[in-house]
Symmetry: C2
Subunit: 190 residues, 2 copies
Amino acid sequence: MTATRSYHHGNLRAALLEEAERALADGRDLSLRELAREVGVSHAAPRRHFADKQALLDALAQDGFERLGAELGEALSAAGFDAQLHAMARTYVRFATRHAALLELMYTGKHRPGVDPGVGEAAERALRPMLGVIVAGQEAGAVVGGAPEQVGAAVFAMVQGLAAMVNLGMLDEAAVDAAVERLILGLRPR
Amino acid sequence: MTATRSYHHGNLRAALLEEAERALADGRDLSLRELAREVGVSHAAPRRHFADKQALLDALAQDGFERLGAELGEALSAAGFDAQLHAMARTYVRFATRHAALLELMYTGKHRPGVDPGVGEAAERALRPMLGVIVAGQEAGAVVGGAPEQVGAAVFAMVQGLAAMVNLGMLDEAAVDAAVERLILGLRPR
DNA sequence: ACCTGAACACCGTTCAAGT
DNA sequence: ACCTGAACACCGTTCAAGT
């Protein structure tokens, strides 16, 4: 880690976030002081860019949702409702396993009071592609009618739950496909 | 908080766990030193009962799974597969909302290396009633055949995901019932 | 056996001061 | 505007010592 001095010409913020992600991926605990050390700056310097530790965590979570949303959006290129839903579930599970600690952070303490509203908005944007799949599925007659949000809740709950189980080692990826298949059948109009 | 002196005649461990749950419920951060203070003991005393902070967290998680399992077991008294599954989902979601911080702790870092095996075993025991519902449903012809673990994965994923969404404020309890209904339809033999 | 007190190496946060 | 250094009030963990 050769400390590039040019780093600190306005992008300390980005450097800190990068280092934080690396720590998260390595399973290290996040400490502001350590991040500052790693990036070659005094322990008080991050204060200029993040009001406190929580602000940095919020920025990290928001970034995570934005990347997740981008990946989910790509899954829309599959043809047909079933293929799209399968692709979406696989994409979500893959993101969850590749960025396990980040995903945990993304969903952690969202219920705590005084959350950064930016995180919630990013989460909503990230999950929008899933709603798009539902609406298209309804139009194609593959999905029951009703408020897309209601149907989407079932889909998102299943996918999110499956990802959590895979991360806990309770499930392999074949079981994910099987569960999604069950869900697809349940969503069909009757 | 009148510090009862008789507390410390062999049950410091239980007192610490109780206080930890209270802190969790209040949304306070868990600090071993604060727990010791609250319970009226020196900051080094907990060491006798918990090797380190993680050991206390593991004990807390294990306890949580045991209580969750007991509540889920009660849901089995409902009559018929549909009613049992609905009861189970409502029970799980209720536990999740009443003990949000505890549930987060229960599922947090399960994937980290060197976990207390007791926690995983308690988790498995807690979820067993759910498998029982599946098996009974299969025998009654309300659920597709196949390995109960595979079908159970879909059920647990959905329920766990719904609970997470309710905790995040993304969902109300009516939507839970609707999603479970979709799942029931998907599980039917065809 | 169970607990205390001091010590060590860390934290997050604040604030005057430097450039 | 951006960063430093010292300071404050906390942590978790360890260890000799007390009863």
